[in-house]
Amino acid sequence: MTDAPTPAVTSDAGEEPIPVEPDYLHAERGVLSWLLTKDHKRIAIMYYAAIVLSLILGGIFALVIRLELLTPERTIIDATTYNRMFTLHGVTMVWLFLLPGIPSIFGNFILPIQLGARDLAFPRLNLMSWYLFVIGACLLLGGMIAGGADTGWTFYVPYSSLTPTAVTPIGIGIFILGFSSITTAVNFVATTHLLRTRGLGWFQMPLFVWALYATSLIILLATPVLGLVLILVAVDHSLHFGIFDPKYGGDPVLFQHLFWFYSHPAVYIMILPAMGIISETVSTFSRRRPFSYNAIAYASLGIAFIGFLTWGHHMFVAGMSEWTAGVFGILSMFVGIFSAIKVFTWTGTLHRGSIRFTTPMVFFFSWLFLFVFGGMTGIAIATQSLDVHWHDTYFIVAHFHYIMVGGALTAFLGGAHYWFPKMFGRLYNERVGLASATGVFLGFVLTFTPQFLLGNAGMPRRYYSYPPEFQWLNVLSTGGAVLLAGALLLTLINLLVALKWGERAGANPWGSRSYEWQTPSPPPTHNFPTSPTFSRGPYDYDLTEEEARERIA
């Protein structure tokens, strides 16, 4: 409980009050004040550093893959190394970037502020989440240095039990990362239920909170099954229990059931927070309330729920019964409905809005195109008979990269730019931002559109060599990858430069009505000078400036 500080002093022009507390970045000094912090904002920054490094590592693996695929035969590495490259690319991107990315950085930083709370429900548990992440990441890195794995990120049995590579330490590392995820989810759920400030009902919360809440539900219910399946693979690999080995009576398809029971909802863990960012940026940069708040809130829960019922669509050709495959095919179609509801709602939000083409908004439009495209190819693949042709080809690779990169990464970058002023109190260079956002979009399209064509023409995924007639598409794709890498590098440099030399930002440079913008940038340690009462919604753009300000006590 904080002592009530003296009321903030306002300047003559009635602009943002001068904060009386130092901001969270300067409240305490010294390395230990960071490593032992309980402040959710500092923990978010520590996650930021670790996760950006992970993204760079995953990107390096990707570039090695793309460079190798420039020629039909060997280009720079041999086949066994190639297998490790695509495995480690997948493992790094999935578990060190996509899954933790938005929740652990922006969720940690923004969620308590958007609820008017002074911190998450369990700050020390939050710090433990970060340490678990670091330990898991170190185990993964150790495994990579010890030769990595060559099973693909999906660790299919029986090969993952037999391969002499570092499957066990990598499996244990992922297990620990799962724990990090689960503890974060426990924190988010408890905070949303119990730490909403006065005046904030469930249907008044910003939609980013709804997105994180739905995500947390998935994390809590799906990740444990991954934990189990990793234990089983580790036990099979090290102790040869043979739980999935046909030599001892095991059934490899059952591994896939358990693996995909987690890994399909996992992709919703990756995309739901991204959709949350989209909800925030669309509203702010069109100065409109969402076309239907309830539609997005309920659709988030709908995606979370239906997402659990569709895992078998990864196994259409694995050897499951046709009956089961049919059931999954039908259920997989349903999940598209909720995504479609959201896409129409966001588009409807733009209508009659006052749209500003800032960098986050460019990321939004990029996102809209890429997510819809990727999502529709997803519906196509969910058709069992079509998947027989496309499964394990580059068509699938292109589909999920459209969603993961075109969806999750694009939204991540949008959020990074949108909340940059709030997190660091500085503005990035808008021109460079626009250029880098455009570069990311163009680089992405050039990288992955050829892959749809490659997959449809029959090029299998995870293949080291290919027939010469596929080379021109591969060269295009690699060219795109280089452009994408350059644009991402430009984005990183832009933001890093702005950290030190960016123009100072006020509390609300975007003129947003959402709650996190009603407190100084960067926020003080306890987020708000005094515990606020929220007497209006986060998207009330129809109120005047004074009314909007008054209703945040």
Binding site: M1, L194, I243, L254, S531
Partner: protein, 227 residues
Amino acid sequence: MSASPDTPEVVDPAAASPVAPGLGDQYDTYARQHRARLFGMWVFLVSELLIFAGLFSLYAAYRAEYGADFAAGIEHNNATYGTINTLVLITSSFTVAAAVHAVRGGRTRTAARLLYVTIAIGAVFLVIKGLEYSTHLHEGFAPGPYYSNTELPQFGARMFFTLYYIATGLHGLHVVVGLGLLAFVAWKAHRLRYDEYHHVGVEMAGLYWHLVDVIWIFLWPVLYLMG
């Protein structure tokens, strides 16, 4: 103690208690902190439940694949050991529930004693489990390539025993963790760091222990009775 600036000065008996732990900055009252911690524990338990969901699903699938061969393995399992262990765990659940009841009424010393009893009973469970494992291993019932029993050579029986070891092993791990949690709160209770207002640690450890019991309540028939 300080009160929130928006409400009149009231005396919160929880705040006045000599064993009050620190109140987190994000909480206005001890009641809210208590509720949050209990809710957080429940949310975590829900997660733990799903780990075993995968195991039970694996059991069901292999049983469907192997039919009578699989059931033959269950028949050969020692239902006596299993049943005794079930009664042991149920009783430990009772004693920890009694400990929570005691500490809610402010009888912290009684709670400490009950917690020690719970730990002892939990240890008995592990000892019986160990005895059981050694009996099985003597008979050649081991997982994977180490299986050497000649009476039941079929794949179905072998898969059953592999699953048996994994399921009871994972459960046993949770028993050990539960005993650790119980020891921690038992020690705090022994040092009288709880009272009728502040005891959520005991409740949280109790909830975890009950989960361990609930999992066994389902593991027992599935591994010992449904032959």
